[in-house]
């Protein structure tokens, strides 16, 4: 008998006869509070900031100069770009060198890159979370992981949902999903929160919409 059959047989013996089941109660809230789209965006910004992400707001015209400034402030010389990042986002002439994530590029090569700029799949206001699903403006999971500086652009209000239940119903589980709430952090030493350890130590979120 294979272990598979053995385990399944043990389960069946253990649970015995299965009578009628009570329904799973789903009376918990879909969303905690009623908000206008602007209020949801404000809540997202507040929660992101509370987890020590840096939050910026701008419109389409203001985005390229803002990104240029944010990269320059860190002395960024090389920036990773996903395959379908809107070209005009990094349109400024004198910017850092753009690096493309190729199949052949090794983690060590990516480790030498200063920053990464991506879009996102959606953001969750109640928890201060951005979710990446590997879409063309986000790229592979590794590009938002190895560089020390991640700038993520969220289109507001279209990409903002209020709650975790609303986020899950908009996501495709077959895609690789990364939920990010604030930059990498640890509390393993005397429960003192320290940003960093392995993921990007600086997360900047740009809320892109009408000003």
């Amino acid at each position: 008998m294979s272990s598979r059959d053995r385990i399944l047989a043990r389960v069946r013996r253990a649970v015995g006869e299965r009578g009628p089941e009570p329904e799973i109660p789903r009376d918990y809230l879909r969303v905690h509070g009623v908000r206008t789209p602007a209020e949801s965006t404000d809540l997202l910004a507040a929660h992101l900031a509370e987890y020590r992400a840096k939050v910026h707001r701008t419109d389409e015209d203001g985005l390229p100069p803002l990104l240029t400034r944010l990269l320059a402030e860190r002395g960024c010389e090389t920036v990773l770009v996903p395959p379908a990042l809107p070209p005009h986002w990094l349109a400024a002439a004198a910017g850092p060198v753009r690096i493309h994530d190729r199949a052949a590029s090794t983690p060590s090569e990516l480790d030498r890159v200063d920053s990464v700029v991506t879009g996102c799949a959606l953001a969750v206001a109640e928890t201060g979370t951005i979710v990446l699903d590997g879409g063309p403006d986000q790229g592979r999971r590794r590009i938002t992981l190895i560089p020390d500086h991640h700038i993520c652009v969220v289109r507001v209000p279209d990409q903002v949902v209020d709650s975790v239940p609303q986020a899950l119903e908009r996501l495709d589980p077959v895609r690789p999903l990364t939920w990010i709430s604030g930059p990498s952090a640890t509390s393993d030493i005397e429960l003192d929160r320290v940003e960093g350890v392995h993921g990007p130590r600086t997360l900047e979120v740009v809320l892109l919409g009408a000003q």
Binding site: R13, R141, L145, L168, V174, W179, I180, G199
Partner: protein
């Protein structure tokens, strides 16, 4: 379960040692009280907390009752998404499967995401025996591994260490495992975290194989879910070519939608955050993104035996948040090592004796490692009635009875050391059944009350080791009652 802790003293002895350690008690008190306060605030933010808790409990109970169906559905979904599913009845089999998978890659080292299941089966030791080095990459697990230590908390395994101790471990041990700690090294948490970042980064960037557990597995879609904070999980889950996940069979949930409950209750219960910094979800393999080979090892190792006990099976609802550890007055003083298991605290006190059986002295003593104050039940996000299971297991230890071991119904005998307890109960039954004898005994006791010893001799001694023998009143209740009624007439 693995025999890693053979020779471990039973809980009372281990706890007695631990409470004498002033540094340990201070570290633990600081940590548990900090996180306890923060958790209450995070939970209070959600008006529907009780409903989320009830829903989480119902989803878990439902899944356990139909575990066979959901495991088969999960297997089909993972396979369809390009993964391979293996089934392991016990620790030995799981270790063998993982070892063979690693050897087949030609690699002799791997990186690990913090995982309770792999600790439970002693995977690192088994890999070591096969010449494979497993590097723990969670900061706390790294501290434990470098310190040749054992984890003492589910969420923060190095909770028993303070910054000075951690600096000393990094200074002396990092160089033996790879990149040494920078000199000079202070004890500021920021500096220590930076040392860990540099030490581990060289391992992440060259790793070809990773081993993880999972917080949840979705039967409907085959999606695996790992919650973490540092990003070491993301490193292990996405950079290597081969990913092997060892996951207890009870971690399955039916639908992707069910995650909406646990993604709200788990972070708030464990780290007291609205959401943990990173959650990774993956389904089989994805072309061009992440590992090209994914293996899922489904682990039983006593879980189906636990499922066979209608009272005890609720322990399988556990989502390993560790909230029960942080509120437990016994854990706070005794520390995690006293529990002699990778699962310490209240949940460990009910989980370990079920997964491993109660044959060992440590496992037989665990159901008694509690004041039954009920705080653990109050904070549990899946409403496990830990005190109920503790009492149930105490009865099993003292009285023996039917249990399931390795899938077979057997009857266990009362544990050694409980003979006095049973003799006392038999005597009490006899006396209470014979009122005349009871009255005579009470009068005799009242007259001899001045002779009351402070400690009992013989088998009763263990009981008076930690308690005063109660004073004997001058008159028994029954005599008093009779006299009072006489006076009223």
């Amino acid at each position: 379960m693995s025999g890693t802790y053979l020779g471990m003293p039973a809980f009372p002895e281990a706890a007695r040692e631990a409470v004498r350690d002033g540094v340990l008690r201070a570290n633990l008190r600081h940590a548990t009280h900090t996180i306890r306060g923060k958790r209450a605030l995070a939970v209070a933010e959600l008006a529907d907390w009780d409903r989320l808790r009830a829903a989480g409990r119902a989803v878990k109970d439902h899944t356990l009752r139909h575990l066979d169906r959901y495991l088969l559905q999960l297997e089909a979904a993972v396979t369809a998404a390009g993964g391979t599913v293996h089934w392991a009845a016990d620790a030995e089999e799981a270790n063998r499967i993982v070892t063979e998978l690693v050897l087949a890659t030609g690699e002799r080292e791997l990186v690990k995401v913090k995982s309770m299941a792999t600790q439970e089966i002693g995977l690192n030791e088994a890999l070591q025996a096969a010449g494979i080095t497993a590097y723990e990459t969670d900061l706390a697990e790294l501290i434990v591994q470098l310190g040749h230590d054992r984890p003492s908390h589910i969420l923060v395994p190095a909770i028993h260490r303070n910054r000075g101790e951690i600096r000393d471990i990094f200074r002396t041990e990092m160089g033996r495992w790879g990149r040494p700690a920078p000199e000079p090294l202070g004890d500021d948490p920021r500096e220590l975290a930076e040392a860990a970042r540099l030490h581990l980064r060289e391992k992440f960037l060259r790793a070809e194989v990773a081993v993880s557990g999972a917080n949840f597995m979705v039967a409907e879609t085959g999606t695996m879910v790992v919650l973490e904070s540092e990003g070491n999980g993301r490193m292990c889950l996405t950079l290597p070519e081969t990913l092997i996940s060892v996951v207890g069979v009870e971690k399955v949930v039916p639908t992707f939608r069910d995650l909406e409950i646990f993604l709200q209750t788990l972070p708030r219960s464990s780290t007291a955050e609205r959401m943990n910094p990173y959650t990774t979800m993956w389904t089989g393999t994805t072309d061009g993104d992440g590992p090209s080979a994914f293996h899922l090892v489904l682990l039983d190792n006593g879980r189906t035996d636990t499922l066979a006990d209608p009272v005890g099976r609720q322990a399988l609802r556990c989502i390993r948040c560790s909230a029960c550890l942080n509120v437990c007055p016994v854990y706070e003083r005794a520390g995690g090592h006293a529990y002699g298991s990778v699962y310490p605290g209240p949940i460990g006190a009910i989980l370990s004796p079920q997964l491993r059986g109660t044959a060992d002295a440590i496992d037989a003593s665990l159901p008694y490692a509690s004041t039954l104050c009920g705080a653990c039940y109050e904070v549990c996000p899946v409403a496990i009635d830990i005190p109920e299971v503790l009492l149930h297991l105490r009865e099993r230890v003292a009285q023996g009875g039917p249990v399931t071991r390795d899938g077979i119904r057997v009857r266990i005998r009362p544990a050694h050391g409980h003979t006095a307890e049973r003799a006392a109960m038999r005597a009490a039954r006899l006396l209470l059944g014979h009122p005349g004898a009871l009255r005579a005994g009470e009068r005799l006791l009242a007259r001899a009350r001045r002779l009351r010893p402070r400690r009992l001799p013989g088998p009763g001694r263990a009981w008076t080791d930690s308690r005063e023998l109660p004073a004997v009143p001058a008159e028994s209740f029954r005599d008093w009652w009779a006299r009072e009624r006489e006076a009223c007439r």
